[in-house]
C-alpha cells in the first residue's frame, strides 16, 4: 500500500519552511517531490527599489544568518568589478580570514545538527560546545557573535587588531588539538556509521548532472571549489585544493558519511588557511575609500554588469548585479544561493531509502531555506505552480527587460 507523508513545511527535522513529499511503501521511499518557496522575503526587491547599494550590503547579510559573509561578499565583489575599486591587499587577507572563520563555525554547526537528526543529542551538545570558541573569536574581531557587518565596497570596515592575533592563534591551537577527538567521535562511532554509511548516495554522474555545489559535490568525488578553480580575494596565495573524502578514508562513495568526512576535513583546511593568512598578512590600508557618501556617489555614476562567485560553506554562491548610471539602487540583483542548486539532489539521494533516513539525508546537504526561497506566486489568493516552459518564458522576458 502506498501513501504519502509530508515532511514539512513545519517539521522537527527541518527547522525551516520547505516541504518534501515522500510516497512510501511501508518504510521504503518510492517517490520524492520537493516544494520550495514556502516563505518569500523579497530581499532582491528591496535591493532594487528601496535600499542604496551600501544599505544593500547589510540586507544581503540578512539573506542567511549562518553564512552571513558569503552573500555580501558576492555583492561587494560584483559591484567592485563594475565600479573598479582597488581593494588594498590587507583587506583581501582580512576577507579571507573572515570567510574561513565563517566556514569553521558553519561546518561545526552543521555537524551538531546532523548529530541531532540522528537522535544523538550528546554529540550535538559536544560539538556546539567546541564551536563556542570560534564564536568567541568572531565576537572579539567583529563585535558580535553572528553578524559580521565587516564588508564595504573597496575593503573592509574593521581591521584585525594586533592584540587579537594571539587569541586567534590560541583558537587555532584549540581546534588543532580537539580535531582528532571530534573526528573520532563522529567517524568511529558504530551507530553513526550504521546510520550514514551507504545512505543517501549521490553518484559522481548525478552530482555532475545536477550541478551540485560545495561539500555535497565534493563528497561525490567532483573536485570543484571556487577557491581552487577561480581564486578571488587573496586565495591565489593559498593554493586551496578541493577536498574529497578519499583523502581520509581512501574511497569515495558519495554517501552521507562521506559528506561528514568532507566537512570535517574542510574545518582543518580552513584552520590552515587562517594560520597562513595571519603569518603573511601585509600591513597598510584596509579601505580604498573611507568616506561612505563618496562610495555611494561613485556607484551611482557607474554602469555595467558583473557576476561574482564565492565559495560559501554550503557551496558556491553567485550574485549577478547590474548598475545603471544615475540609478540610485542596484538596477538588477540576482542571488543564487548554494542550497538552491543542492536541493535537487534530494531526489536521487532519498530514492529507495527509508523514512528514518529523510532527516539526515536532507540535512546532509546543509540546506538553508532562508537563502533559497526566491519566488512565490500568489494570484487571487491562490498559489499556482509554474511549469518549466512558463518559467523559461518569464526568464527570457526578464533578460530582455534588463538588456534594454
Amino acid at each position: 500500500m502506498k501513501y504519502e507523508i509530508p515532511v514539512g513545511p513545519i517539521h522537527p527535522a527541518l527547522k525551516e519552511p520547505i516541504m518534501i513529499k515522500c510516497t512510501i511503501e511501508g518504510e521504503r521511499i518510492v517517490d520524492v517531490d520537493v516544494f520550495c518557496s514556502q516563505n518569500h522575503r523579497g530581499i532582491e526587491w528591496i535591493g532594487m527599489n528601496r535600499n542604496n547599494p551600501v544599505q544593500s550590503i547589510y540586507t544581503a547579510e540578512k539573506i542567511c544568518g549562518i553564512c552571513n559573509f558569503c552573500h555580501p561578499s558576492c555583492l561587494v565583489m560584483a559591484v567592485e568589478e563594475i565600479v573598479g575599486f582597488e581593494v588594498p591587499e590587507r583587506a583581501q587577507y582580512i576577507r579571507v580570514i573572515q570567510g574561513e572563520l565563517e566556514r569553521i563555525h558553519s561546518h561545526l554547526l552543521w555537524a551538531g545538527v546532523a548529530a541531532h537528526e540522528l537522535g544523538f543529542d550528546s554529540l550535538l551538545h559536544y560539538v556546539w560546545m567546541v564551536r563556542e570558541k570560534v564564536m568567541d573569536i568572531l565576537e572579539l574581531v567583529n563585535g558580535q557573535r553572528v553578524p559580521k557587518d565587516v564588508l564595504m565596497y573597496g575593503g573592509v570596515r574593521r581591521d584585525i587588531k594586533e592584540e587579537h592575533i594571539p587569541k586567534i592563534r590560541e583558537m587555532l591551537k584549540y581546534y588543532a588539538e580537539g580535531f582528532d577527538k571530534i573526528a573520532k567521535l563522529f567517524l568511529q562511532d558504530k551507530t553513526i556509521k550504521m546510520r550514514t554509511r551507504e545512505i543517501g548516495i549521490l553518484t559522481k554522474e548525478d552530482a555532475m548532472k545536477l550541478a551540485t555545489a560545495g561539500p555535497t559535490t565534493r563528497a561525490s568525488g567532483v573536485k570543484k571549489d571556487v577557491r581552487q578553480d577561480m581564486p578571488y580575494y587573496a586565495y591565489p596565495d593559498f593554493e586551496v585544493k578541493a577536498i574529497t573524502p578519499d583523502m581520509l578514508t581512501g574511497e569515495t562513495l558519495g554517501d552521507t558519511y562521506d559528506r561528514i568526512v568532507v566537512r570535517l576535513l574542510e574545518v582543518k583546511q580552513s584552520m590552515e588557511i587562517i594560520e597562513q593568512a595571519l603569518d603573511e598578512m601585509p600591513g597598510g590600508e584596509i579601505l580604498a575609500e573611507p568616506k561612505v557618501m563618496k562610495v555611494i556617489n561613485q556607484i551611482k555614476k557607474s554602469e555595467g554588469e558583473a557576476i561574482a562567485r564565492h565559495e560559501a560553506p554550503r557551496g558556491e554562491a553567485i550574485h549577478y548585479v547590474k548598475l545603471k548610471e544615475g540609478f540610485e539602487y542596484l538596477y538588477a540583483w540576482k542571488v543564487r544561493a548554494p542550497t538552491y542548486i543542492n536541493i535537487l539532489s534530494w531526489r536521487p539521494m532519498l530514492m529507495d531509502m527509508q523514512i528514518a533516513d529523510i532527516p539526515i539525508v536532507a540535512a546532509s546537504i546543509d540546506p538553508c531555506m532562508s537563502c533559497t526561497n526566491r519566488v512565490t506566486i500568489v494570484e487571487d489568493n491562490r498559489e499556482r505552480v509554474l511549469t518549466a516552459e512558463h518559467l523559461h518564458r518569464l526568464s527570457v522576458q526578464k533578460t530582455r527587460r534588463l538588456m534594454k
Binding site: 544593500s56 550528546s122 554529540l123 559536544y126 563556542e132 563585535g143 574593521r158 568511529q188 558504530k190 561612505v292
Partner: protein, 134 residues
C-alpha cells in the same frame, strides 16, 4: 566502537559548560527578576564578559550636542531605524529596528554616534523608553 560513552562518563563529573545567565533556572519573569536584582532581593549570575569593549556592538549611544543634523546616518541605515526630527534638526533612533551594523557610526562626520556594551535589549514593547534613543 562507541567513543561517546567514555566521553560522557568523563563529562558527568565536570562542571556544566553553560553560562547560567541570569540565574540557574530560568525565572518566570525575567523583567521582574532583574528588578528584584536591583532591589537586592535576588543575585544575578553575570553574563560572559564582553570580549573587546572597543569592537563590541551594543546599544547605540547618541551625543545630542555634537549632532549637526546632516542626515548622513539616515542615508546609510539599512533598517531605516533612524528618524529625523525636522523642528530640532536632531535624530531619533529606534533600537527595536536597529541591526547593530554600526554603519551610522562610520558615516557620522562629527563622531556623535557610538556603540556601547549594553546588550540586554529584548522587550515586548519595541518603543519602550530605553529602546528609543534621542
Amino acid at each position: 566502537m562507541l567513543p561517546m560513552l567514555g566521553q560522557l562518563l568523563k563529562q558527568m563529573f565536570t562542571k556544566p559548560f553553560t553560562n547560567l545567565f541570569p540565574a540557574k533556572y530560568a525565572p518566570k519573569n525575567v523583567g521582574k527578576y532583574l528588578q528584584d536584582v536591583q532591589a537586592g532581593k535576588a543575585t544575578l549570575i553575570s553574563p560572559v564578559p564582553v570580549a573587546d569593549p572597543e569592537t563590541f556592538r551594543g546599544k547605540i549611544v547618541y551625543d545630542r550636542e555634537k549632532c549637526t543634523g546632516c542626515k548622513m546616518c539616515i542615508k546609510v541605515c539599512p533598517s531605516k531605524a533612524i528618524e529625523f526630527k525636522e523642528e530640532e534638526k536632531k535624530i531619533r533612533i529606534y533600537i527595536g529596528r536597529c541591526i547593530f551594523c554600526s554603519q551610522c557610526n562610520d558615516a557620522c562626520p562629527v563622531d556623535a554616534l557610538h556603540m556601547s556594551e549594553e546588550f540586554l535589549l529584548a522587550d515586548t514593547n519595541k518603543v519602550a523608553d530605553y529602546l528609543v534613543v534621542e
